[in-house]
Amino acid sequence: MALTAALKAEFDKLCTKYPHRRAGLIPALHRCQEELGGWISPETITDCAEYFELEPVEVYSVASFYPMFFLSPVGQHVVSVCRNISCDLRGASEITNAARQHTGAACGESSEDGRFYLEEVECQGACTSAPMMVVDGKYHEDLEPADVARILGEIQ
């Protein structure tokens, strides 16, 4: 059982916001990913299915739709560089290159030492402070390529 008692208690409270419990599924999957290893494992899917009274195939179908959910293990620190138009116009590809160099990971993959997962993502809503990247959920904006090494280097 991957779902801890603490998580279930959280979900119990979360689901009271909605007239139908299933609406708590996506917020719950976020919490699972945060607490249970940084990804949505098969065990997490079957546990959530049981909790929400759904079939695993239904939970899997939902989880696999959303770009923020990882259905296979990823490196410890997720680095997401925006590749959309406003960022691209202001040098996003250099940011991606710098991130590739520093992490040693190819886009869409984790570094060999497991520290980083690097991905290119679509518009993150920081267009006027482009280019940007998200590291462990935190926005880093108005980047120069040199900032990348500094920011990633500060991660313990």
Partner: protein, 486 residues
């Protein structure tokens, strides 16, 4: 009912159903993939385009499955705009669809093929590589999935959710990365999987049982009724060149089975193709050999038997039709007795979808015909004391079990009218009969609804119908004839 005009004709439309249903109900063709009258409506495939004009509003091309009917609506299913939209939609679908027709079981009954021809979408303009996905994904005992052929209409997902109410299929991923799959490639379970091959508009979900078995245009399709339980689903029996039954599929019948049938019934055709078929007649001689005989001679012997026996037991197979049951009842009465039909025990396949759990397809019909049900126990008791036993109809020997004949008194005479041969020493006279795809008649289902079975192919050479055989025995049974020297 709402009055609308479709292609110039005023028709009545059910306001509870979408426009596409009204068009189909009145014989107007509207192409469709994701729409299915037995499933929820999604409106995603976008091919059911028709032109609609309402009042003073300009005509627009809409998806017919998501358009409610409205009084006075003017519908044109053949407008240029509708055809253009459909052709565009087809080009998009054909962009990634593999050119598998030469090896695809669905060829000949594939609506992607059909609509492509109808809409003259002969050539696609794509030069891009097609998506490569799993082409022979094993989904268990019944279904094979080819993800490349899939057009993501979601009928299969909705079928599992809505009919057997057992969600097992899903669309995973998003956009052009979407695929149909099960959770962790688990095999499908349940008694309704075969319907997936029916609802799939293309050759993405196919039956393992039918894979590479026949080209569908070589199949003769005959409407009939399923035999495997008392639901009596309406089916079509499909025979290859007057030979093997290659498959059975459900026929729509809103009073009985909707659009579906169960796997237990669907995959029962194997028994119909067995090679150990009884010829027209056989009789046991003094040396104890069961030799081929002329049916008229055999009938004469049986008539003699009946005229001299005082305690005859007539047992019908549960697959006998209403007409055959009546003929047998009459024969039995003329022998001062009541005929019975073998009543198989209930099985555990009964569910709240279609299967009744009662393997007898004509229980009500046979009871209406005056036959009394007789289970294994009752048969054991009655057969022990009868001096003459007449078994009538297909699969009866299998259902009784040949061991059931072991304990019969040696003085007893046993006449078997069956489909399959039997070498059991107790058999004195054997007459071949047609099975349920080789004859016509009526079965009455659990709700009292009549279902017809119809011959889809010829019975083996020389085999006579049950009604003929029984009538022959009845007409002369009052008059003993000289016994043939045996």
């Amino acid at each position: 009912m709402t009055k609308i005009i479709v292609n110039g004709r005023e028709v009545e439309a059910d306001p509870q159903k979408p426009l596409i249903a009204a068009c189909h109900d009145h014989g107007e063709h509207v192409p469709h993939y994701c729409y299915h009258p037995g499933l929820s409506v999604v409106g995603s495939c976008r091919i059911c385009q028709v032109e609609v004009k309402q009042g003073e509003m300009p005509a627009r091309v809409v998806a017919a499955c998501r358009t409610p009917v409205a009084e006075g609506m003017v519908v044109n299913t053949e407008s240029q705009g509708a055809h253009d939209s459909r052709r565009e939609c087809l080009e998009f679908l054909l962009k990634n669809h593999p050119l598998d027709c030469p090896i695809c079981d669905k060829a000949g009954e594939c609506t992607l093929q059909d609509y492509s021809f109808q809409e003259a979408q002969a050539e696609g303009r794509t030069s891009e590589p097609r998506r490569t996905l799993e082409k022979r994904k094993d989904l268990g005992d019944v279904i094979l999935l080819d993800q490349e052929r899939c057009i993501l209409c979601s009928r299969c997902v909705r079928f599992m959710d809505e009919v057997p109410k057992s969600p097992q299929l899903c669309i995973s991923g998003r956009g052009s990365d979407s695929v149909v799959e099960t959770w962790q490639d688990a095999p499908l379970t349940g008694n309704y999987q075969g319907n997936l091959a029916d609802v799939c508009p293309v050759g993405a979900l196919t039956l393992k049982d039918f894979r590479f078995q026949a080209r569908v245009w070589n199949l003769t399709r005959v409407p009939s009724t399923c035999s495997e339980c008392s639901r009596g689903c309406s089916i079509s029996v499909e025979v290859l060149r007057d030979g093997e039954v290659k498959r059975m599929r459900p026929r729509p019948n809103e009073d009985v089975n909707g659009y579906w049938m169960c796997d237990h019934g669907r995959f029962s055709e194997g028994e119909l193709n067995r090679s150990d078929r009884m010829g027209p007649a056989a009789m046991r001689n003094d040396a104890g050999e069961l030799n081929q005989a002329d049916p008229d001679d055999a009938l004469r012997v049986v008539r003699n038997l009946l005229s001299i026996q005082s305690n005859a037991l007539f047992l019908a197979s549960p697959y006998l039709t209403l007409e055959e049951g009546e003929a047998l009842s009459q024969l039995a009465r003329s022998c001062s007795t009541q005929a019975a039909f073998f009543s198989p025990a209930a099985n555990d396949l009964g569910d709240d979808v279609l299967h009744t759990g009662d393997p007898c397809p004509n229980r009500r019909g046979l009871q209406d015909a005056g036959l009394k049900p007789m289970d294994s126990e009752a048969w054991a008791a009655a057969s022990a004391s009868a001096d003459c036993v007449i078994l009538v109809g297909e699969r009866l020997l299998d259902m009784l079990g040949e061991e059931a004949l072991d304990g019969l008194p040696s003085a007893q005479r046993l006449v078997v009218m069956e489909c399959r041969t039997s070498n059991h020493p107790a058999v004195d006279v054997a007459l071949g009969v047609p099975n349920r795809v080789e004859r016509s008649g009526t079965w009455i289902n659990v709700d009292g609804t009549a279902g017809a079975i119809r011959a889809a192919r010829s019975a083996p050479q020389g085999v006579r119908t049950i009604v003929d055989l029984l009538a022959n025995l009845t007409s002369a049974s009052s008059q003993p004839e000289e016994a043939l020297s045996s």
